[in-house]
């Protein structure tokens, strides 16, 4: 075996050498290459195929289960229910109430998260002081605090906002702290040796370097804010998207319930795209 290999290697294979030459290495399909790159068109096709799979699966299951009482509405029934909700005006009132709660609650949470998180990521003393506390409090499920907040704050808007803040603020703080910690030390040291004071370094070096990371944190934890909103509205509310789902359940209006779930999904996609756009607009240098 070795001998043949040696002889065949020694013979120069000029043009006209007969017989196929074995290829070296194993060809990999671009679709299944680990850490491979895809061209934009393939990426788009795959994404569309994923959404289509979900929709087709939904429609097939709905038609299969169709009986005298609807447990799973078809896509058409869901869209009709959505149109109905929009026309009666209920949808806009609920959407406004829910967006307002998440907007205010999450803004407060994000503000606290940025201030405390950047402090923890930049000052070893702040980190040593706060890390153990937040590390523990973070593990108390915020939803378990709902009864307590209702007791303390009544049943108006404040317990709902408090729940959204508490349910997201610790994630925001700890993740922003990680982002601030990732500012390279030479960057900070170079600023000091140029004559920058600590406040200047914080405002003009640590903050701009952390900004794209902070937007990513905001984008990821926004889902938790909606989760807390639903918990709050399920228990006590007279308006809101989650409240409307509970109402629909009482009248067995499954098509309405699905329409409202669809609204949640659309809001998620829209906010995700908006925050991604904000990131690449404000921090073009961080684009991959």
């Amino acid at each position: 075996m070795t001998e043949t290999a040696l002889t065949s290697e020694a013979t120069p294979s000029g043009p006209g050498t007969p017989g196929p030459v074995a290829a070296r290495g194993r060809r990999q399909s671009p679709l299944l290459r680990l850490r491979g790159d895809l061209d934009g068109r393939t990426r788009l096709i795959l994404g569309a195929a994923g959404v289509a799979t979900l929709l087709v699966g939904w429609e097939v299951a709905a038609r299969a289960l169709a009986g005298d009482s609807i447990l799973l509405p078809t896509i058409g029934q869901t869209l009709t229910a959505l149109r109905e909700l929009a026309r009666s005006g209920e949808l806009w009132g609920d959407l406004g109430a829910s967006l307002r709660r998440v907007g205010i609650g999450y803004a407060v949470s994000l503000g606290l998260g940025i201030v405390i998180g950047v402090a923890m990521g930049s000052l070893a003393s702040a980190e040593a002081w706060l890390e153990p506390v937040f590390g523990m409090v973070r593990y108390i499920p915020a939803s378990a605090l709902t009864p307590l907040f209702l007791l303390w704050l009544g049943i108006d808007e404040s317990p709902k906002l408090a729940l959204i803040v508490v349910g997201t603020v610790f994630y925001n703080i700890l993740m922003v702290a990680d982002v601030a910690r990732a500012v390279p030390t030479p960057l900070i040291n170079a600023s000091y040796t140029l004559g920058a004071g600590r406040f200047t370094v914080l405002r003009r070096v640590i903050l701009p370097h952390s900004w794209p990371g902070i937007i990513d944190v905001a984008r990821i934890n926004l889902a938790a804010a909606w989760l807390m909103l639903v918990v709050a509205e399920l228990l006590a509310a007279d308006q809101g998207l989650a409240f409307r789902i509970v109402r629909a359940q009482r009248f067995r209006q499954v098509d309405r319930m699905f329409a409202l779930l669809l609204v949640f999904g659309l809001i998620g996609v829209a906010s995700d795209l908006a925050l991604r756009a904000l990131k690449s607009w404000t921090s073009p240098w961080a684009r991959a």
């Binding site: 390279p184 030479p186 960057l187 040291n189 170079a190 600023s191 000091y192 040796t193 140029l194 004559g195 920058a196 200047t200 003009r204 070096v205 701009p208 370097h209 921090s283 240098w285 961080a286």
Partner: protein, 268 residues
Amino acid sequence: MGPGMSAGAAGVPAPKLRCVGVTKQFPGRRRQPGTVALDGIDLEVAENELVCIVGASGCGKSTLLNIVGGLEEATAGTVEVDGAPVVGPGPDRGMVFQAYSLYPWKTVAENIRFGLECAGIPRGLRAERVQELLGIVGLTEFADTLPRDLSGGMRQRVAIARALAPEPDMLLLDEPFGALDAQTKQVLQDFLLTVWQRTGATILMVTHDVDEAVYLSSRVYVFSSRPGRVAEEIEVPFGAQRGPLVRRDPRFLDLRDEIQDHLRTNVR
């Protein structure tokens, strides 16, 4: 008459930088004594001198540079610049690091301008000074480029320009060419010599590249490892004019071998 003036003996000018018995011990864990990174470093750099520190990794040479820059504190000993003790960082001592020290969201010109802003250069003078510094480092065409679109050598030239912006009287260079390929490195070494001659700055540079140290400096401090000590202080006999020929001078090769022997015996 400041205290710095009286420090020098009659006729001998006081050194620009003087380190006496500088010792650095890092805090230990669990009652273990901490690592001694530097043990009683005595070192002087004269005005306008270019001095290199060479040593294997772990000899504390970067720690010493950080102490001179005011970024770290010595456990014992004193560091004086012009006779005044160093207690923190300041624009009188510009520093250049091996990498990751440019602001990635700022263009080349904005990076340099930031150095001018921090140093409190009046707004009206900044634009002209930025242009001048861009010219010195030969990056005028790249004024509006982001660091991510520059080569490693260009990035280090920007870092040097930015460090020069506040017109420091000392430059502290921490392996500034350590991450560059051999060709770029030689170009930047000659560039550094030009900058040194043009600005008349006092330069203290840390490197692990013996050739680089001999090629650039008038004196080389050889550090031993764990703890870092001054193992040898070597005079380099070449004058201010350096060029490719110096690298082939037999004295250059002898010095290089001598320093390399020192490093080998001091590394365990």
